[in-house]
Symmetry: C2
Subunit: 267 residues, 2 copies
């Protein structure tokens, strides 16, 4: 791929500031950037958006809204407020979408899934008004008890159809879905509901559920096939590199970016 | 559950010999035992079967056959020979089934899945002649690159239907499938193809893909609901406790058995 088709997600260079992520992306020749919200905490987003406009970098996503399953009404209300704040941030940065990490269930999966559906439906009018698309990210099943009960692309597609809004679609990440026997048909089904496309590779052995990931090409996922299928289904946006890796986090940010660039340009 | 409805899998007390597994199961009051093949290596299986008959313990499974995807014809032939040896062992012990860990793919998932289907079809006549049922175990997706490309109950059900033999069914393990949004309907679909039912619990955080498991009740899986759904679908056999756990492996075998018994009797 050309780097101009790619976007650098801030978590790939964890610890880098808003300005530094932009500088790294611009220097390397990326077409876009994506931000986890921890990077946005102390940023003047109006100035930030102006800086992004000067560089020509597109913001492919803000991560994250979601975490809908909560133990009680009060906690759900706090979460709703936080999700509106996330929509505001995505709006301020003209992001292509707000990624939804839908939330986990420690025991009651069915109840959690109902809360996810209701939570997205409740947030949708606010997002619509702000012009911010919501992207449900199906997560790897090993995170069902900690991050998201939405554990396959089929389930995410079912959820998108159940909600039935053109403002609600999918963020698909190779790391979470590559194992799925039904992946190809579900990507085709998702079609233009694909709002975000992210890459990270699967390296064995994993040493935990979160940060064992590899740069594209370091692991076993057929990245070229994955990207081609999403393109063929109708995905028109940039391709994010979003790699949570203890290994790369221990290296200087510039080294992580070089490795990401190496991987992306070989796809 | 009553312990007479349950079976002790040898890996739960890793390191225990064939005789010791039987003694532990009998003393605790289990209705059956199950063996990983490492335990059978130096055992006279005719004498072993006689010992089991004296105790009244049923052998619920032998683990494992499978590992069908191989790089070349020679390797596939060696694997086929080993799978026939596994069938012979299951036959000698009058086991309810031979569990199939179908095998991984490092890159070509589609090709590996074809080799799995062909491998099972090739082994089926030999198993049929021996009267040994083959139980395809859907594995957790985090093991797709290391142990099995069959990563959901839906996929296993599709495979069973494609093979179309009453000697080929399913081994279902709570640890591998609990996260699945479509679990309930796929259990109902499996019905009497359920040849083996195994329990292990999901504890967070995991520290790897293999041996982070908990005794029933130590984690987040709704064990009572899971067992009830399998019973309701038509499963008639014993319920195995099969827990790969670095924590419990570091304890004396008797302590692990006590913990298993505590968990099972609370379901």
């Amino acid at each position: 791929m050309e780097l101009s088709e790619c976007s650098l997600n801030s978590i790939t260079v964890k610890g880098a500031s808003f300005d530094r992520v932009i500088q790294l992306a611009e220097t390397a020749g990326f077409g876009g950037v994506a931000f986890w919200r921890d990077v946005l905490d102390d940023v003047d987003l109006r100035a930030g958006a102006a800086m992004l406009q000067r560089t020509g970098l597109r913001v492919t996503s803000v991560c994250r809204g979601g975490m809908f399953p909560q133990p009680d009404k009060g906690a759900r209300r706090l979460r709703f407020d936080d999700n509106r704040a996330a929509v505001d941030q995505a709006h301020a940065l003209h992001a292509d979408c707000l990624v939804l990490v839908c939330g986990a269930a420690y025991a009651d999966l069915g109840g959690a899934r109902t809360q996810v559906r209701d939570g997205i439906a409740e947030l949708e009018p606010y997002a619509r008004q702000a012009g911010v698309r919501l992207a449900i990210e199906p997560f790897h099943p090993m995170m069902a008890a900690t991050r998201s009960v939405i554990t396959s692309l089929r389930e995410a597609n079912d959820l998108v159809e159940a909600i039935g809004s053109d403002m609600v679609g999918i963020a698909i990440d190779s790391y979470h879905v590559w194992w799925d026997c039904y992946l190809r048909s579900e990507i085709a089904r998702a079609g233009e509901s694909l709002f975000s496309l992210q890459l990270a590779d699967w390296i064995t052995p994993i040493h935990g559920e979160l940060s064992s990931r590899g740069m594209p090409g370091e692991g076993c996922i057929d990245m070229a096939g994955f990207v081609a299928e999403c393109r063929s289904a109708g995905y028109r946006g940039l391709v994010e590199v979003e790699v949570l890796s203890d290994h790369w986090w221990a290296q200087p940010a510039a080294a992580a970016v070089r490795a990401a660039v190496d991987g992306l340009t070989r796809i």
